[in-house]
Amino acid sequence: MNSIPLIHFLIVSTALFFIGVYGFFTRINMITMLMSIELILNSVNINFVAFNKYLHPESNDGLFFSLFIIAIAAAEAAVAIAIIINLYRTHSTIDVEDANEMKL
């Protein structure tokens, strides 16, 4: 049954994590930045589920944790998109580089 070893899941999740981090730092469109964040969250979900299944199958903590992460990610995206819409109303753009009124 356990024909796929744990390390494969971890490689996928690590790859997803860094793709997300890369996207977050290089994209200037806010919606794309939010999508990158979702990628990172999903890599964390894979981690949790894989750890739960392979290392600690006696309880379902990791599984529940990933369910909660999905719910919170939806809430966070909802608020973030509301903020972005409001930003669009005042700035007429959703590029982070154009929202640069305050600088050091």
């Binding site: 969250l41 964390v44 992460i69 608020v79 005042t90």
Partner: protein
Amino acid sequence: MDLILMMKNELMLVFIIVILLVMKVADNGRSSGYWIGVINVLLIVNCIIDWLPVSEGELFGGVYKSYALGNFGKSLLSTGTLLISLFSTDWLKRCQHIAEFYLLMISTLLGMFFMISSGNLLMFYLSLELSTIPLAAMCNFGLTERKSGEAAMKLILSSAFSSCLMLMGISFLYGASGTINFEVLSIIVQETPLYIMGFVLLFVGVAFKLSVVPFHLWTADVYEGAPVPVTAFLSVISKSAMIIVFSFLLYHVFGSLYNSWYLLLYVLSIVTMITGNVFAIRQENMKRFLAFSSITQMGYILVGISGSSAEGVTSSVYFIVVYLFSNIAAFGVISQIAEKSGKETISSYKGLAKHNPFLAWTMAIALFSLAGIPPTAGFFGKIFLLKAGASKGDLFLITIAALNMIVALYYYLRVIRAMFMDENEDSIPVLHSGAPLKVALAICLIGILITGFSGPVYEYIFTLSNGI
């Protein structure tokens, strides 16, 4: 019955949220004064109930736990929220959505309460998000202002990213230990690479909320863009809650990783203090100035926490009390001046003492306390932090901290000089402050002076922090 006794602080907040929702639904064009009156009465009741004693123990199989220091922190936070609510009356009257503002603020406070009482990593994560997401919405409350939207965007994106990193850390901790319960975790944790990796990533999430230096970049922009009451809430309440959770995590859960986190705190506190000071010197805007000053204060707190003893917790919580009163007083004055005259720069504060002596003196005492000048409480707060930090015998760290406190005097005194000594042709005219603002500022001043002069406050916190 246990449930009601232990969770009374949280239940009270949920009760207020429900009342506000019902009132909002049944609302038929009531005046803003009515709303503010009702909500302030509710907050006063909440504050009184929070100061009543709470029983200690665990609920829901260890997910929620009530302990003495946490309960003290909760009472302190609801007092701070009440003070902020009082001084923001003028701003709220102009704002269209009073009920929504308070709903978000009280939800945030609820998140912080749960975070203080959290007994496992899941609860910790959920409550951290509950205390962050509404805060970002609150930052956007200046709906038509460009800066406000930008601040909210910066806060939500960077907080989402930092909580992602924190979750990665939590998943490592879970993978290594197989548990998310703090009690079990504190027994299992060892100094192996996976635990340290998990801990460091978890630390990132916390350090972001505290704006410790490599993760401080959002602070100044968000502080400047958000409306003043939100800035005050962000800088005082959110950080105070985090300090209590942080010391609980470090001392209780990750106590066995001591060697790793001592090094971490050592480096970060030095960098934080120096960066905060260097940037604070060149700020012109009062809100940005206080943002960098609060970064510096966090550096001092890290010095105290790194002492790793009961004194470390006590001194940092004592410092929180002082910091709460001083910062709320400073923000109260700033909010009044920004609301009535629209001025926020240090140069426009020139000659403030001539026409508005009460505001100028309040600001001066608050800044003296932040700078640590003897008659005020800030002095004792800093002495205790340094003493706790010195208990490890590392005098280099203490010397750096003390030098930074001297540098900090320069920029605090710069504001005081502008207010009292500089002449100005178009100085701010006489402002008529309402009664709520005066009450809030007076409570803050009394708080600053009393915590400074009375030893029992420190000893009381010391007895509470033995539980950690």
